[in-house]
């Protein structure tokens, strides 16, 4: 019963190109979505978020897109840099259970020089 899924366990991208990480969810009550980045032996670090009233949110090189009808969100990183190599987690919450973040299993992004 995994409500948030990241179907790609890993992704490899050339430095300077665009990285696209995908996330699907099943619970239509989710209305707040976040992306976290995690380096080995460290905790996840908040990257960017989007609420369900928007379909796009941009912060520097990072853009999150939300397609509510498809229950799909994606994180675009452009241009990709070596320091972006990390595990990226998608997370979602609903107003009713707003203190409860449901995480995907993560996608390991590797940026190749």
């Amino acid at each position: 019963d995994q409500q948030v899924k990241q179907n790609s366990p890993s992704l490899s991208v050339q430095e300077g190109r665009i990285s696209i990480l995908n996330c699907d969810y099943t619970n239509s009550m989710f209305d707040y979505f976040l992306w976290y980045k995690k380096y080995p032996a460290e905790g996840p670090t908040f990257l960017i978020s989007i609420s369900s009233i928007k379909d796009k949110n941009e912060d520097g090189r990072f853009t999150v897109f939300l397609n509510k009808s498809a229950k799909h969100l994606s994180l675009h990183i452009v241009p990709s840099q070596p320091g972006d190599s990390a595990v990226y987690f998608c997370a979602a919450s609903a107003v009713e259970g707003a203190q409860k973040l449901v995480f995907g299993q993560g996608t390991r992004l590797t940026i190749n020089p």
């Binding site: 995994q2 707040y32 976040l34 976290y36 032996a41 460290e42 905790g43 996840p44 670090t45 908040f46 978020s49 595990v87 987690f89 919450s93 259970g97 707003a98 203190q99 409860k100 973040l101 449901v102 995480f103 299993q105 993560g106």
Partner: protein, 112 residues
């Protein structure tokens, strides 16, 4: 000046023992959380506290008991440790429940 700090970073112990993991945040946040990351890498919430009050208890065995002496601290005590408790445990905090959470670096618990 670590924002969310957990101790210890590593914990190796025998089955049946009782152990505690401590968490402190210096961000002035009102809400704190414990998460478990299992072998499949899923991060799952265990507990959340808001101003020392338990808000979420996510069907965790009652061998796990969180304690919040003040809103800057949320400790996790585990009784009668079992092999399945081996995981990485993350503490987190947020200003309010709709704000992004800040995570500690995790405690890797290994049960022999």
């Amino acid at each position: 000046d670590t924002a969310v700090s957990q101790t210890p970073k590593y914990l190796v112990t025998q089955m049946g023992n009782d152990k505690s993991i401590k968490c402190e945040q210096n961000l002035g946040h009102d809400t704190m959380y414990w998460y478990k990351q299992d072998s499949k890498k899923f991060l799952k919430i265990m507990f959340s506290y808001n101003n020392k009050e338990l808000i979420i208890n996510e069907t965790v065995p009652n061998r796990f008991s969180p304690k919040s002496p003040d809103k800057a601290h949320l400790n996790l005590h585990i009784n009668s440790l079992e092999l399945g408790d081996s995981a990485v445990y993350f503490c987190a905090s947020s200003q309010d429940y709709w704000q992004p959470q800040h995570f500690g670096d995790g405690t890797r618990l290994s049960i022999l």
